[in-house]
C-alpha cells in the first residue's frame, strides 16, 4: 500500500517550515496502482539531476567517469552530451583535490554536485567535507555558505570486500553543518536529490548501488519537474500499531518484507523510512513509538555509534515511559565486510533478523543477543 505525501516545497531549500501547500495522504486505489508509471532509482536520480541542471545554470557535476563513461553506475548518463564539458567534468582519481575544488567553487557561489564513486573514497576527501564545507557557514558567521551536494553509493554492495562496503551515515550525520539524506524509493531519489541540489547547505547524499536497478511506481506529481521532498521529514511507509521499525536506504525494503511476514503472524508493524539522517525526524519516530510502544531500529552499517544508537537515545530521552520493551538494534556485524558469500550474508541484516527482533519486542520469543 502506498501512501504518498508529496509536498510542493518553495524554490529555495525544502525546510519543513517554509512549506506553502501540504497535500493530504492519498491511499493507493486499485486504479491508481495499475495506471502508475514505474521508474528505476537510477532514472529517478538521472532525471532529478538533469532537471536541476536545466533549471539553474550554476549547477554543475564533477567526479570520476561522470562524463564520457556516462557514470560508473550510469547515474549521470547523457548529461555530458546535454550540458557540455564545462558543466559535466571528468576528474582525475584525486578525491582530496577535486573535492576541495568543488567546495571552493561553492564558496564562490556555484552549486557543485560532487560524485564519489563510492563513499569509501570520500575518506580521502573527508577533511574538505567536514572542515571546509560543513563548518564554514558557522565559522564565518554566515558569510560563506556552501551549497554543495556530495553524492554516491554508500554501504554494502555484493562481494566487494571490506574496503568497499562501509556505511558512512553515522560519520557524516554526527557533524553539525551537514545535512545527510538517504533515499530508498524512486520517489525518494527524485524528491530528495532535488531538495539537496536546491539546498544552500552542504548535503551528503547516500545512495545504494543495489537499489539503482530497482523499479518503484511514481505518480505524475513525482514526475513533475517542480517535485521536491522536505529535508528532515521521515515517511511512514506502512502504518501499524504493535511495533515501530525504523530503517533507511535498502533496509527499508527489508523492513517492509519483515512487516508483511509479521502481519501474517498477527503483529502489525509500522515501518518508518527515515529519508533524512541529519536532521533526524525525531518527532515522527517518537510519535510512532508512543503509539506502538515498541521499537526496532534497522541499519546495514556497524553497530557501535550507529544510526540506531542515536534513535535509541532519542526515544529513551523523549518517550521512555511509553516503551513496553527494550529497544532492539539490528545492524551489520561488528566486523570488516568479508568476501565469502556465506560470511557476507551473515555480516549484513536479513529479513529474518528483523522479524525475530520485532517478535522479541512483542515477547514472542526468548531474548537472544542480536549477534550476526
Amino acid at each position: 500500500m502506498w501512501g504518498i505525501v508529496g509536498q510542493r516545497a518553495c524554490r529555495h531549500g525544502s525546510s519543513a517550515m517554509s512549506l506553502q501547500v501540504t497535500r493530504p495522504v492519498i491511499h493507493a486505489l486499485r486504479s491508481f496502482s495499475t495506471a502508475a508509471k514505474e521508474m528505476t532509482v537510477r532514472d529517478a536520480l538521472n532525471s532529478a539531476i538533469d532537471e536541476e541542471m536545466s533549471a539553474d545554470p550554476k549547477v554543475f557535476l564533477m567526479g570520476e567517469e561522470v562524463g564520457e563513461y556516462q557514470g560508473a553506475y550510469k547515474i549521470t548518463k547523457g548529461l555530458l552530451e546535454k550540458y557540455g564539458p564545462d558543466r559535466v567534468l571528468d576528474t582525475p582519481i584525486t578525491e582530496a583535490g577535486f573535492t576541495g575544488i568543488g567546495v571552493g567553487a561553492a564558496y564562490h557561489g556555484l552549486k557543485p554536485i560532487v560524485e564519489f564513486m563510492t563513499f569509501n573514497f570520500s575518506m580521502q576527501a573527508i577533511d574538505h567535507i567536514i572542515n571546509s564545507a560543513a563548518k564554514s557557514n558557522y565559522m564565518s558567521a554566515g558569510q560563506i555558505s556552501v551549497p554543495i551536494v556530495f553524492r554516491g553509493p554508500n554501504g554494502a554492495a555484493a562481494g566487494v570486500g571490506a574496503q568497499h562496503s562501509q556505511c558512512y551515515a553515522p560519520w557524516f550525520a554526527s557533524c553539525p553543518g551537514l545535512k545527510v539524506l538517504a533515499p530508498y524509493s524512486s520517489e525518494d531519489a527524485r524528491g530528495l536529490m532535488k531538495a539537496a541540489i536546491r539546498d544552500p547547505d552542504p548535503v551528503v547524499f547516500l545512495e545504494n548501488e543495489l537499489l539503482y536497478g530497482e523499479s518503484f511506481p511514481v505518480s505524475a506529481e513525482v514526475l513533475d519537474s517542480s517535485f521536491c521532498l522536505p529535508i528532515g521529514k521521515a515517511k511512514i511507509e506502512r502504518e501499524g500499531k504493535d511495533v515501530t521499525i525504523t530503517a533507511f536506504s535498502k533496509m527499508v525494503g527489508y523492513a517492509l518484507k519483515a512487516a508483511e511476514i509479521l502481519s501474517k503472524e498477527g503483529i502489525s508493524a509500522e515501518v518508518i523510512n527515515l529519508r533524512s539522517i541529519r536532521p533526524l525526524d525525531r518527532a515522527t519516530i517518537n510519535n510512532s513509538v508512543r503509539k506502538t510502544n515498541r521499537l526496532v531500529t534497522v541499519e546495514e552499517g556497524f553497530p557501535q555509534h550507529g544510526i540506531g544508537a542515536e534513535i535509541c537515545a532519542s526515544v529513551v530521552e523523549d518517550s521512555f515511559e511509553y516503551l513496553d520493551a527494550a529497544i532492539e538494534r539490528i545492524a551489520g556485524a561488528d566486523v570488516p565486510m568479508p568476501y565469502a558469500a556465506n560470511l557476507e550474508r551473515l555480516a549484513v541484516p536479513q529479513v529474518e533478523d528483523i522479524v525475530r527482533a520485532a517478535k522479541r519486542t512483542c515477547y514472542r520469543s526468548s531474548s537472544l543477543a542480536a549477534t550476526a
Binding site: 554543475f60 582530496a96 575544488i101 567553487a105 564558496y107 558569510q143 560563506i144 555558505s145 553543518g177 547547505d201
Partner: protein, 383 residues
C-alpha cells in the same frame, strides 16, 4: 644647500632622486602620482617562463601607502602579541610580522573581484582586503563585533564581498579551495584570478599537487603563492623538502621566485602572474620571506633558529625599512613625517584595541545560529 639632506639619506646607488626638488624643509608629504621607476632588489628567477622586468613602475602616493599599510600591519601584529600574553586572545595566534610586503604588494596589483585565500596567518591579509582594525581585534578577543561575530577566531577571518575567502586552519586545504574559486571565476567568465597562499610547510601536501594537476588540465586562472618563510613550524625547509625550490615544484607549471621582502618585486610578480594565468593557466610564485615571530604565540621561534639570524634579517631585509629608505631617498617625505605616520598608526591601533576590549561578547543564543543557512536552525538537544 637645499638638496643637502637628500644626499645624506641616499644609501643605494640604484635610487635616483627626483629632479629639481623645491625647498624640502617645508614641503608636505608627496601624494603625487607622477610615475617613478624603481628596480627590485634582485632579479626574478624564472621556471619555464620569461621573467618580468626588474624595473617596477610606482609613484610617490603608492610608496607612501605601502609604508602606511605595512606599518599598520606591523603595529597590529605586535599589539596582538601583547594581547595574547595578557590572555585577551586565546587559542592560536599566528603572527605575520616580517611578511607584510607579500600581502601589500599583492593588493597593489589586483582588485577586489580577484580572490585571495590563505591559511591561518591571515590577520594582515584580511586587513589588506579591506578589513578594519576594530573587527580584527574584536574577533581575536571573541567579541560580537568581530568579523566572524566572535565565532571564528584568529584563523577564521573572511570578507567575501572583497574577495577574501579566509582564514583556514587545516594546512594545505586552502590550495584546492583556491583552485575551486578560480574554477568559479572561469565558469562565470569573469576576467579575474585567484591567489592561493600557502607556506613552505604546506608546499609538500599531496592535495596541492592534485589541485594543481586539475587546474593545469582545466586552465584555471589560479596563482599559487608559496610564502616561503623557511620554517614549517619548527622544521627548517631543508629538513622537510627534498627540493626546496618551491617555484619549480609545479614541474610543467611555470614558476617565479621573488624577493618577498621587497614590496615592489611582489607587486610586479603578482601583476605578471595575473596576466599570465588569464591566458595560460596556473603559475607558482615563491615569495622568499621571513617571519620574526615563532610559528604561533606558543612558539618562541628561537629553538630552531638563532637570534642572530632573526636580527640579521630585520637589519638587512626588513620590508618597511626598505620602503622607508626609498621614500627618504626619493625625498617623498621627511623622517619626521614618517615617524608621525607611525605615531598616528600606533594611536589608531591603540584606539581600536581599547574599543574592542569593552565591546560585548556574543549573545548565548548565537551558539545555535549559522549552523545552516535559511534559519533552518540547529537541532537543540534537550538542555
Amino acid at each position: 644647500m637645499a638638496l643637502s639632506h637628500l644626499s645624506s639619506t641616499r644609501s643605494n646607488r640604484l635610487l635616483r632622486p627626483l629632479a629639481a626638488a623645491a625647498s624640502s624643509l617645508c614641503r608636505p608629504i608627496s601624494t603625487s602620482t607622477e610615475p617613478l621607476v624603481i628596480e627590485t632588489s634582485i632579479p626574478f628567477t624564472p621556471h619555464k617562463c620569461e621573467p618580468p622586468s626588474r624595473s617596477v613602475e610606482t609613484n610617490p602616493q603608492e610608496l607612501l601607502t605601502f609604508f602606511r599599510d605595512m606599518a599598520t600591519m606591523r603595529r597590529m601584529e605586535i599589539a596582538a602579541d601583547s594581547l595574547y600574553k595578557a590572555k585577551l586572545i586565546r587559542g592560536f595566534c599566528h603572527l605575520y610580522d616580517g611578511q607584510e610586503a607579500v600581502c601589500v604588494g599583492m593588493e597593489a596589483s589586483i582588485n577586489k573581484k580577484d580572490c585571495i585565500i590563505t591559511a591561518y596567518r591571515d590577520h594582515c591579509t584580511f586587513l589588506g582586503r579591506g578589513g578594519t582594525l576594530l573587527e580584527i581585534f574584536s574577533e581575536l578577543m571573541g567579541r560580537q563585533g568581530g568579523c566572524s561575530k566572535g565565532k571564528g577566531g584568529s584563523m577564521h577571518f573572511y570578507k567575501k564581498e572583497s574577495g577574501f575567502y579566509g582564514g583556514h586552519g587545516i594546512v594545505g586545504a586552502q590550495v584546492p579551495l583556491g583552485c575551486g574559486l578560480a574554477f568559479a571565476q572561469k565558469y562565470n567568465k569573469d576576467e579575474n584570478v585567484t591567489f592561493a597562499l600557502y607556506g613552505d610547510g604546506a608546499a609538500n601536501q599531496g592535495q596541492l599537487f592534485e589541485a594543481l594537476n586539475i587546474s593545469a588540465l582545466w586552465d584555471l586562472p589560479i596563482i599559487l603563492v608559496c610564502e616561503n618563510n623557511h620554517y614549517g613550524m619548527g622544521t627548517a625547509e631543508w629538513r622537510a623538502a627534498k627540493s626546496p625550490s618551491y617555484y619549480k615544484r609545479g614541474d610543467y607549471v611555470p614558476g617565479l621566485k621573488v624577493d618577498g621582502m621587497d614590496v615592489l618585486a611582489v607587486k610586479q610578480a603578482c601583476k605578471f602572474a595575473k596576466e599570465h594565468v588569464l591566458k595560460n593557466g596556473p603559475i607558482i610564485l615563491e615569495m622568499d620571506t621571513y617571519r620574526y615571530h615563532g610559528h604561533s604565540m606558543s612558539d618562541p621561534g628561537s629553538t630552531y633558529r638563532t637570534r642572530d639570524e632573526i636580527s640579521g634579517v630585520r637589519q638587512e631585509r626588513d620590508p618597511i625599512e626598505r620602503v622607508r629608505k626609498l621614500v627618504l631617498g626619493h625625498d617623498l617625505a621627511t623622517e619626521k613625517e614618517l615617524k608621525d605616520i607611525e605615531k598616528e598608526i600606533r594611536k589608531e591601533v591603540d584606539e581600536a584595541i581599547a574599543k574592542a576590549k569593552v565591546s560585548p561578547m556574543p549573545e548565548p543564543s548565537e551558539l545555535f545560529t549559522n549552523v545552516y543557512v535559511k534559519g533552518f536552525g540547529t537541532e537543540v538537544f534537550h538542555s
